[in-house]
C-alpha cells in the first residue's frame, strides 16, 4: 500500500463514523479501532481512497465504525471480495479485517490464497482464540483443552498459529501486535500499509466475555518479561532491564533465551533481527512462554511484486474500444452472402 497524500492534516476524527460501536464494553476491539484510526491519520490517505472489507464475526463489524468506504460481506470470504476490489480499482487502499474463526476456519482457504498470490491488501486478523458472536465456542486457534459450550470436556484438536500460518502459505509480510499495545500497533500498521503486497498482521485481542485473560502472560500489564519487540538490524534483546536475549541453539536448530548477565554470554551471541530471513521469522513466530517470549513487530518482510500490479501491467488498461469489437467478432473465417 502506498497511497500517500500531501494532505497531512488528517486526524483520528476524520476516520470515525457516526455509528455507535456495538462491541461489549471492555472488548479489546475498542483499542484496535483506536490504533487503526491513529495509523490511518498518520498514513494520510484520504478517507475516500480507503476501503475496509470484513467477513462475519465481532471483528467483522469493524467497517461500520470507520469513516471510509466499507463492505461487510459474508463469513470467511473477505479476502476474496478484497481481491476483486483491488483488481477492479487499484488506486484504493484495501484493508481486510476478521477474527480467527472467520479467517482461519471458514475462510482459511481464502486467507491462504490472498497471501500466496500477494494481492496488495492489508489483512488484520484479530486473534482472541474463541468464537465471540456465536457465544463462546472454541476456535482453530484455541489451545488444546479449551472448555467451551461445544467442547465441555476440553477441545481435542491442535491449534494453528496465525503468524506461522501466514508464513507457511508464502506471506511476504507478517507482523504481530496486540490490542492494548498502542505504541507498536500503529507502527506495525504503517509498515503493513507501506508494503506492496499482501501484509498480514496478527493482533492479539482479549475477549473478556468468553476467553478473558487468554493472553495475560504476553499482553497484560506486567508481561514485559515475555514480550520481544523485533526491530530490523537490532539484537533480539528483551526484558524490563533488557538483560535477556535470543540465541540460536545450533545443535537443536531452535531459539533459546539467554541471560546477558551469564558469564559465558556476550552480545555477539545474540541474534540480530533480519526481516528478510524467512527461517528466523518462523522460529520467532512459534516462540511463546514458557519456551521464550512472544515476538511482536515485523517478523518478516521480503517484498516481491504484487499480484494486482502484475495484472495491471499485463492487462494494458483496455487499449481497444467499442469500435474494435466489430473486428473482434469478425476475427477468423467469415463469409458474405
Amino acid at each position: 500500500m502506498n497511497n500517500q497524500t500531501s494532505k497531512a492534516e488528517l486526524t483520528i476524527q476524520d476516520f470515525t463514523s457516526d455509528q455507535e460501536i456495538r462491541w461489549c464494553p471492555g472488548c479489546g476491539d475498542y483499542a484496535i479501532v483506536k490504533g487503526v484510526r491513529k495509523a490511518l491519520a498518520e498514513i494520510g490517505t484520504p478517507p475516500e481512497k480507503v476501503v475496509f472489507v470484513s467477513g462475519i464475526g465481532c471483528a467483522a463489524r469493524f467497517p461500520y465504525y470507520m469513516e471510509t468506504y466499507g463492505f461487510h460481506t459474508i463469513h470467511g470470504r473477505a479476502p476474496s471480495f478484497a481481491t476483486g476490489i483491488k483488481l477492479a480499482n487499484p488506486d484504493l487502499d484495501v484493508w481486510v479485517v476478521g477474527g480467527d474463526g472467520d479467517m482461519l476456519s471458514i475462510g482459511g482457504n481464502h486467507t491462504f490464497h490472498v497471501m500466496r498470490r500477494n494481492v496488495d491488501v492489508n489483512i488484520l486478523l484479530f486473534n482472541n482464540e474463541i468464537y465471540g458472536l456465536t457465544k463462546g465456542q472454541y476456535s482453530p486457534t484455541s489451545k488444546i483443552g479449551t472448555r467451551s459450550p461445544s467442547t465441555p470436556d476440553g477441545s481435542l484438536d491442535y491449534p494453528v498459529d496465525p503468524a506461522l500460518f501466514a508464513l507457511g502459505v508464502g506471506g511476504k509480510f507478517v507482523a504481530r501486535a496486540y490490542d492494548i499495545g498502542q505504541k507498536i500497533l500503529p507502527e506495525v500498521l504503517k509498515r503493513a500499509h507501506s508494503n506492496n503486497g499482501a501484509s498480514f498482521v496478527e493482533i492479539l485481542q482479549n475477549c473478556h466475555v468468553y476467553n478473558d485473560g487468554v493472553f495475560e502472560q504476553v499482553r497484560d500489564k506486567g508481561s514485559i518479561e515475555n514480550q520481544l519487540f523485533c526491530e530490523q538490524g537490532k539484537p533480539l534483546i528483551f526484558g524490563k532491564d533488557r538483560d535477556k536475549g535470543i540465541r540460536l541453539n545450533r545443535e537443536k536448530l531452535s531459539l533459546e533465551v539467554v541471560s546477558l548477565q551469564d558469564p559465558g554470554v556476550t552480545e555477539a551471541d545474540i541474534l540480530i533481527h533480519e526481516e528478510t530471513n524467512n527461517i528466523l521469522a518462523k522460529l520467532l513466530a512459534e516462540m511463546r512462554p514458557p519456551n521464550g517470549p512472544m515476538a511482536f513487530g515485523v517478523l518478516y518482510a521480503d517484498p516481491v511484486q504484487s499480484y494486482d500490479s502484475a495484472v495491471q501491467e499485463k492487462v494494458g488498461h483496455g487499449t481497444k474500444g467499442i469500435c474494435d469489437l466489430n473486428s473482434l467478432i469478425r476475427k477468423g473465417h467469415t463469409w458474405s452472402v
Binding site: V53, Y64, F71, T73, S80, F81, I322, W335, S336
Partner: protein, 622 residues
C-alpha cells in the same frame, strides 16, 4: 498453397440433398471434436446452414477402445433453414468398434456407416462388447456399410513426411475428414491452412496431417473407391444478405459480455473456477485483455463469486460463471449481491445432475436454482439464450439490466449451447445504442439506499469518490440511509422493495412475442433456452399438417414478460417441453394458474424434433 485436390469428382453423379446429418465417432483421443470443428468450418464456407452437437465423455483420455470413451460430433447442414443438429444421422463415421456399438442405434435405417476396419481387431471387438465382428455378420444388413482400412491408408500416406508411427496414426482423423469432405464437395484448403498455422513449430506433424487429409480426399477420386461410396451435393442455403461466421455459444457470450461492458463504459471483471462445461468462457475472455477485460481464476467457486461482487463494488462489472454444482456454492455470495443491491452477472452452463451428475451432458435442470435457489426472499433476474448466436444479445442485455437496476442477473446456458456452432449474421456493433452506467458523484443529499423512482435502483458509487464514503453489508439496511437496521417495519419495507424492483423489470423488457404461428389456437408450445430449434421445427412441421399450434420461446425467465399470461390465454392447451422434470412448467402453473402440461426428457441429450412432434400430437388428441 498449391496442389490441393479438386473438390469435385466430375465423373460421379452426385445425389442432391436438402439436408444431411453426419456423425463422427471414435475414441476420446482420436481427435473427433477437432475433425467435427474443421468439417463445420468447411461446411459454413460452402454456404450451408448448419447446427452442430459435440457430445464427448467426461474422461479426458478414457481407456482406448471402450464404449465409455467414445466421443462424437454431429452436424446437420443443408440448403434450407437448419435449426437442430438433426434427429438421426444419415452417415455414421466409426473410428473403432466401440464407436459403432454406442452410435448404431441412432442411425437412420438405410444410413451409411463408414468404418475404419483397421481398428476392428479381435481385442477391440471384444472390448466394445461384440461377440463377432459386426462388419462381417449380418447385424448391419439394414445399413450401407463402407469398410476402409483408414489406419493403414493413413500410415501409407504419411510415410514420406518421416513422422514416427505413433504420430502417423494420429493423422487418421485428418484422412477421414478428407474423405468425408470429398463426399460432400467440401473444400479442404482452409483446413490445410489451419494445420499449417496450428503446427507451425512442428513442420513434420503439419506435413503428415496435410498428407493424410489430401490422401483421404484423393481416395474418393481414385480407382480405389468402393463403388458403394455415395457422394452428395448440398446446395448453399438462402441466407439474408450480410456477413457471416460460425459461432459457438461460448464465443458469442464472451463477445456479448465484452460488448455489453464496452457499451456500459465499464471494465469487465470475470472471476471463475474451472468446471465443465463452463471453463471455455474463462478461456475465451482470458485472451480479451485489450478490450478492458480482466480475468481471475479464483481458488474456488465461492471466491470467484466474491471477487466478482468485490469488483462490482469497486466500480467494474463483476461476472462469474460455473455449472450447477459450482452455482450452488456461490448462492450465499449471490444473496449478498441481492442484499447490497450490486450489479453482478452469473453464467450457469447447466449440465446433467444432481451433484456431479453427467458433467459433459446437457440438461435444463437449474431453473429452480436460478429463480428460487437462495435463502430468504432473494429475487434476481434470470435470462436464457435460445441459440449459440443469441448468447451475444443476451450477454449485452444482462449487462444492461444488471447495471440499470443494480441487481444480479443469472444467464442460463447449457452444455449443448456452449459447445454447439451455427452460422451468425454479424451485427454492426457500432450501431448498437450505448447504455453508459450511471455512477453517483454528487455528495449533496446522498443516501446509499435512496431509490430511483423509475427503476427502484439505489445509486452506484465507485469507492474513491470524495464525499460519498459509506458502508454496505449483508445486515439488513435501513431504507434510504443504508445503516444497519433490525427494525421490523423496515425489513418488511426493504423485502418488498427488493421484490418489486425485480418484478418491475417485466415492464421494462420487450413484450413476449410468438415465435411461430398465430396468437390463438389449440395449443401453445412454450419453451426456453437451447430447445428452441427442436421445438420450432416440430411446430413448423405440425402446422404444415394443418394443426393450430404456436411456438412461444421465453428468454426472460424471471421476471416473466408482462404479457405472457394474456398470450397463453389465447390457447386451449399449453405444452412445456423441457430437459428437466418440469421446472418452467411449475412456474407457469404457479404464476398463471394455467393448466399446462410438460414434455420432459433428462437423457443428457437435446430433444429430437420427432419427440416434440409426437408429444404435440398426443397433447392435441387428449
Amino acid at each position: 498453397m498449391s496442389g490441393h485436390p479438386s473438390p469435385i469428382a466430375p465423373n460421379k453423379d452426385r445425389e442432391n440433398l436438402e439436408s444431411v446429418v453426419v456423425r463422427f465417432a471414435g475414441d476420446s483421443g482420436d481427435g473427433i471434436q477437432l475433425t467435427g470443428g474443421r468439417f463445420t468450418d468447411e461446411t459454413a464456407l460452402a454456404g450451408n446452414d448448419l447446427v452442430t452437437f459435440p457430445d464427448f465423455p467426461a474422461e479426458i483420455r478414457a481407456p482406448i477402445g471402450t464404449t465409455y470413451g467414445v466421443s462424437a460430433f454431429q452436424i446437420q447442414f443443408g440448403s434450407d433453414s437448419i435449426q437442430t443438429a438433426g434427429d438421426a444421422p444419415d452417415v455414421l463415421v466409426c473410428m473403432n468398434p466401440a464407436a459403432l456399438k454406442v452410435n448404431i442405434a441412432d442411425l437412420k435405417i438405410g444410413g451409411v456407416i463408414i468404418s475404419d476396419v483397421g481398428t476392428f481387431t479381435d481385442k477391440n471387438i471384444e472390448k466394445a462388447g461384440y461377440k463377432n465382428n459386426p462388419l462381417e455378420d449380418a447385424s448391419l444388413k439394414d445399413y450401407r456399410t463402407i469398410n476402409i482400412d483408414i489406419s493403414k491408408l493413413t500410415l501409407e500416406s504419411v510415410k514420406e513426411t518421416g513422422v514416427n508411427k505413433r504420430d502417423g496414426q494420429r493423422c487418421k482423423n485428418m484422412w477421414t475428414l478428407g474423405l468425408v469432405s470429398w463426399m460432400y464437395e467440401r473444400d479442404i484448403i482452409r483446413t490445410v491452412n489451419w494445420l499449417e498455422v496450428k503446427f507451425n513449430k512442428q513442420s513434420d506433424i503439419a506435413a503428415a496431417n496435410i498428407a493424410a487429409l489430401k490422401a483421404g480426399h484423393a481416395f474418393g477420386e481414385t480407382a480405389e473407391l468402393p463403388s458403394s461410396l455415395p457422394v452428395f451435393a448440398v446446395s448453399p442455403a438462402k441466407f439474408p444478405k450480410g456477413e457471416y461466421r460460425t459461432v459457438t455459444g461460448t464465443s458469442a457470450l464472451a463477445w456479448g459480455l465484452t460488448a455489453g461492458c464496452n457499451l456500459a463504459e465499464l471494465k469487465l471483471f470475470f472471476a471463475s473456477y474451472p468446471i465443465t462445461p463452463a471453463s471455455p468462457l474463462l478461456h475465451t475472455l482470458a485472451s480479451l485483455k485489450e478490450y478492458n477485460v480482466t480475468t481471475f481464476q479464483a481458488e474456488d467457486e465461492i471466491a470467484a463469486a466474491c471477487a466478482a461482487i468485490g469488483a462490482s463494488y469497486g466500480g467494474a462489472l463483476g461476472v462469474t460463471s460455473s455449472s450447477g454444482p459450482g452455482i450452488a456454492l456461490k448462492t450465499e455470495a449471490i444473496g449478498l449481491a441481492i442484499a447490497a443491491e450490486l450489479p453482478l452477472l452469473v453464467v450457469n452452463a447447466q449440465r446433467a445432475g444432481p451433484s456431479t451428475g453427467m458433467p459433459t451432458k446437457t440438461e435444463q435442470s437449474d431453473l429452480y436454482l436460478a429463480v428460487y435457489g437462495r435463502n430468504a426472499d432473494s429475487p434476481m433476474v434470470v435470462l436464457a439464450p435460445r441459440s449459440s448466436s443469441d448468447c451475444f444479445d443476451v450477454g449485452m442485455q444482462a449487462v444492461q439490466i444488471a447495471t440499470k437496476f443494480m441487481t444480479p442477473v443469472m444467464i442460463l446456458t447449457d452444455t449443448f449451447l456452449v459447445n454447439a456452432a451455427e452460422p451468425w449474421l454479424l451485427p454492426d456493433v457500432d450501431k448498437i445504442e450505448a447504455f453508459p452506467a450511471q455512477f453517483r458523484t454528487d455528495p449533496n443529499n446522498f443516501m446509499p439506499f435512496a431509490r430511483d423512482e423509475e427503476t427502484g435502483a439505489r445509486p452506484w458509487v465507485r469507492p474513491g469518490t470524495p464525499g460519498l464514503t459509506h458502508r454496505l453489508g449483508g445486515l439488513e439496511r435501513g431504507a434510504n440511509t443504508g445503516n444497519v437496521s433490525n427494525d421490523p417495519d423496515n425489513h418488511q419495507k426493504m423485502t418488498l422493495a427488493r421484490r418489486n424492483k425485480i418484478l418491475g423489470i417485466a415492464d421494462k423488457i420487450p413484450l413476449q412475442e410468438i415465435d411461430l404461428g398465430d396468437s390463438e389456437g389449440d395449443l401453445a408450445v412454450v419453451g426456453w433456452g437451447s430447445t428452441y430449434g427442436s421445438i420450432n421445427q416440430a411446430v413448423l412441421s405440425i402446422r404444415e399438417q394443418g394443426y393450430k399450434v404456436s411456438h412461444i420461446h421465453v428468454r426472460n425467465i424471471w421476471p416473466l414478460p408482462s404479457n405472457l399470461k394474456d398470450l397463453l390465454s389465447g390457447f386451449k392447451k399449453i405444452l412445456v417441453p423441457e430437459l428437466n422434470t418440469g421446472q418452467l412448467l411449475t412456474i407457469i402453473r404457479a404464476e398463471y394458474l394455467a393448466n399446462a402440461r410438460g414434455l420432459n426428457k433428462v437423457a443428457g441429450k437435446p430433444f429430437r424434433i420427432s419427440e416434440v412432434e409426437h408429444a404435440i400430437k398426443q397433447c392435441l388428441d387428449k
